[in-house]
């Protein structure tokens, strides 16, 4: 089960991290532009 869990964690973690990075970058840019 450890491998299965690892597989799902890597998938969700990877996608989640990328999505979070995108969201943060978008927010940052919107703020910068508003300035």
């Amino acid at each position: 089960m450890a491998y299965v869990a690892a597989g799902y964690l890597v998938t969700l973690g990877g996608l989640g991290a990328y999505a979070a990075w995108l969201t943060r970058r978008a927010r940052q840019l919107t703020r910068e532009r508003a300035r």
């Binding site: 597989g7 995108l22 919107t30």
Partner: protein, 250 residues
């Protein structure tokens, strides 16, 4: 060009719809994948079928979309196509990395090794290298029409690798499973929980891919607008520097 600030624009609504849809679909895929029954040969490891093939699928879709957008850009020279190209390439790199990671994790218990010099794995690793190369190329270029054209050609050159990856399983004597979906008669697929989970995964990751691309496109547009602001600011600053200090109003 700037569909960003207003919160109720149609673009925003599509984006949030895609976001929620992908969240629900990915959640359902994970839920279904984790409760799949054990199989004789692979114990519970076959549960990875809900994420691994769909991630690979999304990486193919990404390269395909990037190529179509690249052609669109070369034909129309519109900046929006260019943004879709780079967005798709970058999101594709993420999915390719996930494919490799999950493949490696799946390979460990079934083949006994983390990394097998297997055709699919190797070519998918090549795809990752090519995509990272294209993103690096993009980063090293100044914004503008030249960058857009170069990105487009890079995306087109990447598509050539897809058939090699896809048919590599047939060319080498590979340990990798040949696509299970196409081989047996389609009627039995509906009863097979693995196939159902995998198909749901395909749908979920496709929607997720679309959402990520929309987000990435938005960032690209914001960055381009921001670059212009920065450039204006830099020009104003340099002008101010060029004037002798005594003339600058204090």
């Amino acid at each position: 060009m700037t569909t960003t600030a207003t919160s109720t624009s149609p673009a925003r609504r599509v984006s949030s719809l895609l976001g929620w849809a992908s969240l629900i679909l990915v959640g359902a895929t994970v839920g279904l994948g984790l409760v799949l029954p054990k199989t004789q040969e692979q114990a519970e490891y076959s549960r990875l079928i809900a994420v691994h093939p769909p991630a690979a699928w999304a990486s193919y879709v990404a390269v395909g979309v990037a190529a179509v957008a690249a052609i669109g850009h070369l034909v129309t020279r519109r900046a929006s196509w260019d943004r879709v190209t780079i967005a798709s390439l970058e999101v594709g790199a993420v999915f390719t990395a996930i494919t490799l990671a999950t493949g490696s994790i799946w390979g460990r218990p079934t083949w006994g090794v983390w990394w097998e010099w297997d055709a699919r794995l190797t070519t998918e690793a090549l795809l990752l290298a090519v995509l990272l190369g294209a993103v690096a190329l993009r980063r090293s270029l100044a914004p503008g029409r030249g960058r857009a054209v170069i990105t487009s050609v890079a995306a087109l050159a990447t598509v050539g690798l897809l058939p090699v990856i896809h048919f590599s399983v047939l060319w080498w004597r590979s340990q990798h499973q040949v696509g299970t979906l196409l081989s047996p008669d389609p009627a039995s697929n509906a009863d097979n929980p693995y196939i159902v989970a995998m198909l749901l995964g395909f749908v979920a990751f496709s929607v997720l891919f679309a959402w990520l691309v929309v987000q990435r496109v938005r960032i690209e547009a914001l960055e381009e607008a921001y670059d212009e602001v920065l450039l204006d600011r830099a020009i104003t600053d340099r002008r101010a520097e060029a004037r002798p200090a005594s003339e600058v109003p204090v």
